[in-house]
Subunit: 687 residues, 2 copies
């Protein structure tokens, strides 16, 4: 059996392993108790709202997917028409992962609240297990998608390197495009949904009606809790699904162009798939490491999981490089191993820097806390200064990773580094998705009027969730940057332009144009949040006015209407940014040409990554500055400093949860669209 | 006589014309009356403070200039050692222009207040005449500098094209570097000075002590008025001096590489100088157009000046192209003419877009006004959305200008477009510098307790000044972008790297690194403002506490101490950003190599231009939203909406007056440093 065929078997095995694990954990979650009737009822509203959003989102998505698939089938020629099929598989796989993740997360939240009655340890276990389903579903379904497509490709086209390079891989880029399209909907739409609900609920509830956060009388509060799932579970999952798939395909494409024997090159091409499967096993081991003992902090338990998984992954990578790649000439197996480790190290370092700039009681956040004492204006100026400064080191790390992995193993090395950053995605995503589950559990405890001790435990879990969320965002941005650069390189190879010269004013113009797009995109996303929040405020005011019994608890608020408003706003708000992201590469490519498009891709990547880091970290820092003041720092809760901190946090919300993360999608989506249309551009421009 | 020598005579004539005009107008200003003793006294404090700042600034500048000059003399070889001399001339010329401009502006302010007693027309005349001295000094001194250097170059080296290309022009880039260094000090230092004083004066005066803006009892109020001169007169002047000189030298360097006969190429090389002289004459005609009749608005008078000058400049450009360049082959004279007009049109369009996004009662600013009604957070989110969206069209305009002027006349065409944008700098800068003079006149009227009618007139002048300031910033950014791109192109030609391939990870890394620098730079500038404002607040509180007589008007506040604090903060605050701007190209060039440096330059330009437009326009829009509410829009002065607008304006201040404009300097300075070290890099890397 050739290397390609045996790899497919292993990929199938890895996929089944991950999915089986997810199924087992799902069963476990649903078996946990959640018997308080009020909790069950309110939890039911959240689960229902989340499904309502997904259903409406998929209703918009299906026609979109069909139109794009039809376009791919018509605009392409020959074998490439099959891109349409791969595209549908990609969108479906990502959508299914989101669906499973949300379903389990909205079941795990009530069960976490219930478990919190028994203490921190059982609550952590439920919340993290819920998160691990999301993580394993994402890696399992992406492997399943690859498996199906490569298997069909092998059956119909063959399994030689030539066929892989010329036919199968170009078709499979459609899979990545499908994942990207889904990510656009989930991340941008989810980001708008969650912040519209959050800002709307806070402004009317806390400020106008004077009722606490997460009070069940507030009609927008269910939408707020739904938003955490929509934005942080489904949105983050789709984002990283895309990066994962994109970096694997990018690495496979770049493997073809390494100089060496055909047999060796074939190994390089399938190697990323094997590395991913090894990562799945490492992630499972990591998940098993997450155990908290009495007296230990949940953070250290989670850290054990991610670092443990990384150590195991590094070991696996070494073994794979040594035994599977060993003996290659142009690229030494050890270099590939080091490149994969470089990616892991870079991702971890970016996460640590993110924690420094946004964590509790760090120097930059303390500076914001002091600035709160002189009012909202200084809070904002200082926070933006912190956010801007925070972008520098991560960029230096990314640059160092690019240059060193290139020095080790050429362009292929960069691709392996990108994949290395995401190798243990299963556990990374489990940690990410744990956050919103814990957050939801706290909200449910409040709404279902559980005793304060329960809320204390969920608060402790939630506080850890904020840090992991910030680190997760750093990871998501870092991997998006590397993935975009790999896809860009793959684009250049596919389009057949040997040199993209910065001396050419077209290229420079492309870079300038690319640099402004993240700003346009962010502006649109933030506007959508503003408008949706305003609609939400009007609706909540209407309910309070027309049903005075709500505040007296004699009438039930209409939660569904608020979920509807956020849903409609999210779906409406993502149309124009989506159109910009999709059409820009097409227009620039066909009007300005492939070199100008290459410039645009680099411009959007460089400017977008920096802007995303700035926005995410400024938002995270404001959030924790507010939390510190609420926890007693500076003048404490209710003071003038606290009011200033609330303004900072409210500005930071759309920064860190809507605009910032949406930029990851923008740059990857533009790169993958360019890669997909590369054969058409090659044809059109006669290259 | 050869084309070079005759051009030098014309340049000398243009320079003397501009400087003679400035001298005449200066004499006129000093002859105007300002006899109110209180006005004279307070105006004296402002003038004294401004000179105190300049003196201290120059004291820091001189050792810096000497060190850099010594470095240039030592690190260079052969003829290039003369760069050191050119560098000193550039720094001195720019410093002298700043000195003259400030001296006249701080004399014109009191005289404008005095003239305002007689109505709008005489007040406008004094303020604008004051501004025109700055405009004419900048263009006159830059021409004088060129004249001296080229004359010496011709005497020592010769006047052939070969000598110009290989010896004189590389030496004269030192002139541009000198101007850039001065701009760094004036723009960054000035920006920190002015905002530290402004924020400090407002927070203690208006908020804590409850005294009105510009009240003479506030010790920081003089520093605030000094700041307007330091930032908006000297800072803006040095910024545009640098763009002007940079675009002329860049165009000359690029003229050499056009294909054609030696005689024709020599004409192309000296043509930018002739175009600049024609622009001086056009600007003088434009200045003469600025006349306001009873019942007309000052804005339309200023518009007549700028548009009139542009029309005359276009005519001159046509004549020059036709008679001086006519008959060329590779580049048609008509194409060069169109390129120059393209630059003028692009600059004007960017100005108009800026006015739309930041002007009074426009759709975006009205949106901010509405957002003020729901508090500071929505004010900030909406304002940032507006600022981000505002960057898109200007970038499209810049891209269109680059691509069309390149299509017309190659790289030389782009350079001519950049110069076209600055051709009538004399009148553009007059309009810019008019703003702070009018603003100061208003402050002086308040402090010297003139009747409210006088203040009404100065307020009307000041309102116009806000719009012209916003447009001027748009112009400054647009010209900085084009100048940086030209200098970049010139750098590539000098360093001898034929191709800078975006496929090379070094280049991509350079772009990423470049993209983050504007954020780092902005963060440092904003931090410096925050720290300085805090020091100012402490000092004002101390004076109020230790001299209780100040508020009762029995004791005189210590204005000088506040000026000192702002000065010290400004000089301290610009050191690290300055070091970053200066060292980055050197380090990247010698460690990463010329291709990585090229990537860095494009990254810093693309990211910096977009960030600068975002910051300047968000700041301008917040400022005018606040002014609209103070003028009765929304809930009016003193309302909750007004408080929210004040927060927006305070955040916008360092955006638009410190960080945003400083970025112009960052990208030009890095480009010019790269151009200066290009021969060393060529040598070092053996290219």
């Amino acid at each position: 059996m050739d290397a390609f065929s045996s790899t497919l078997l292993i990929v199938a095995g890895g996929s089944l392993l991950a999915l089986g694990y997810a199924a087992m954990k799902t069963r476990w979650i649903f078996r946990q108790a959640a018997d308080n009737p009020k909790l069950v009822k309110i939890g039911g509203f959240v689960a229902e709202g989340a499904m309502a959003f997904l259903t409406r989102e998929y209703k918009v998505l299906i026609p979109f997917v069909l139109v794009v698939a039809a376009f791919l089938a018509v605009a392409n020629q020959g074998v490439l028409r099959w891109q349409a099929f791969a595209f549908v598989v990609g969108a479906a796989a990502s959508a299914l992962a989101g669906f499973i993740g949300m379903k389990v997360a909205t079941a795990a939240n009530t069960r976490t609240t219930h478990a919190a009655q028994g203490g921190l340890i059982p609550a952590l276990k439920v919340a993290f297990t819920g998160g691990s389903v999301m993580g394993m579903s994402v890696v399992g379904l992406s492997m399943l998608g690859f498996c199906i497509l490569f298997f069909l490709g092998r059956q119909f086209f063959g399994s030689s390197l030539e066929v892989l390079d010329g036919q199968i891989l170009p078709v499979v880029t459609g899979f990545s495009l499908g994942a990207s399209s889904m990510a656009l909907f989930a991340r941008v739409g989810g980001g708008i949904f969650t912040k519209a609900a959050d800002v709307g609920a806070d402004l009317v509830g806390k400020v106008e009606a004077g009722i606490p956060e997460d009070d069940h009388r507030n009609p927008a509060t269910i939408a707020d809790n739904v938003g955490d799932n929509v934005g942080d579970v489904a949105g983050m999952g789709a984002d990283l699904f895309e990066s994962y798939v994109g970096s694997i395909i990018g690495a496979m494409v770049l493997g073809v162009s390494v100089v060496g024997s055909d047999a060796f090159r074939l190994r390089l091409v399938v190697f990323p798939l094997l590395l991913a499967v090894a990562g799945i096993v490492a992630a499972m081991i990591g998940v098993a490491f997450v155990r908290v003992k009495e007296g230990q902090s949940p953070q250290s338990a989670l850290n054990k999981g991610t670092f443990g998984a990384a150590a195991v992954a590094a070991l696996f990578s070494f073994l794979l490089c040594h035994f599977f790649l060993g003996g290659g000439k142009a690229v030494s197996s050890l270099s590939v191993f080091f490149a994969s480790v470089l990616g892991m190290v870079a991702g971890t370092l970016i996460g640590m820097i993110t924690e420094y700039y946004t964590g509790t009681d760090t120097k930059p956040v303390n500076k914001i806390v002091s600035a709160c004492e002189t009012g909202a204006a200084t809070t904002l100026i200082t926070g933006m200064g912190v956010g801007m400064a925070s972008a520098f080191i991560p960029i230096v790390i990314i640059v160092a990773a690019i240059l060193s992995s290139f020095a080790l193993a050429g362009l292929y090395g960069i691709a392996i580094a990108a994949l290395g950053m995401l190798m243990t995605l299963g556990v990374q995503l489990a940690v990410d998705a744990y956050g919103p589950i814990a957050d939801n559990a706290g909200g449910l405890a409040e709404m279902a009027e559980f005793p304060p001790e329960v809320r204390d435990i969920t608060d402790e879990l939630d506080a850890v969730g904020n840090t992991t969320a910030a680190i997760g965002k750093g990871f998501a941005i870092g991997s998006a940057a590397l993935t975009a650069i790999i896809l860009f390189t793959a684009f250049q190879q596919q389009v057949g332009v040997g040199i993209i010269n910065l001396m050419d004013p077209k290229v420079v113009s492309g870079v300038l144009l690319g640099a402004v797009l993240p700003y346009l995109f962010s502006s649109m996303a933030m506007n959508a949040v503003g408008e949706a929040a305003f609609a939400m405020i009007k609706e909540v005011r209407r309910q309070f006015r027309e049903k005075p019994g709500i505040l007296k608890e004699t009438e039930e608020p209409d939660y569904k209407k608020c979920v509807d408003i956020s849903t409609a706003a999210a779906l409406k708000g993502m149309i124009i940014p989506g159109v910009v992201a999709v059409l820009t590469p097409v227009l620039v490519g066909f009007i300005g040409g492939p070199t100008m498009l290459a410039g645009t891709l680099i411009g959007v990547t460089a400017s977008g990554v920096v802007l995303a880091i700035f926005m995410s970290n400024a938002g995270g820092a404001w959030d924790n500055a507010k939390k510190m003041i609420e926890g007693g720092a500076s003048q404490g809760k209710g003071s003038e400093a606290h009011k200033a901190a609330v303004v900072g946090d409210t500005v930071g919300d759309p920064f860190k949860d809507t605009a910032g993360p949406s930029l990851n999608i923008l740059l990857k989506l533009m790169a993958i669209i360019s890669l997909v249309i590369a054969p058409m551009l090659k044809n059109y421009w006669g290259l």
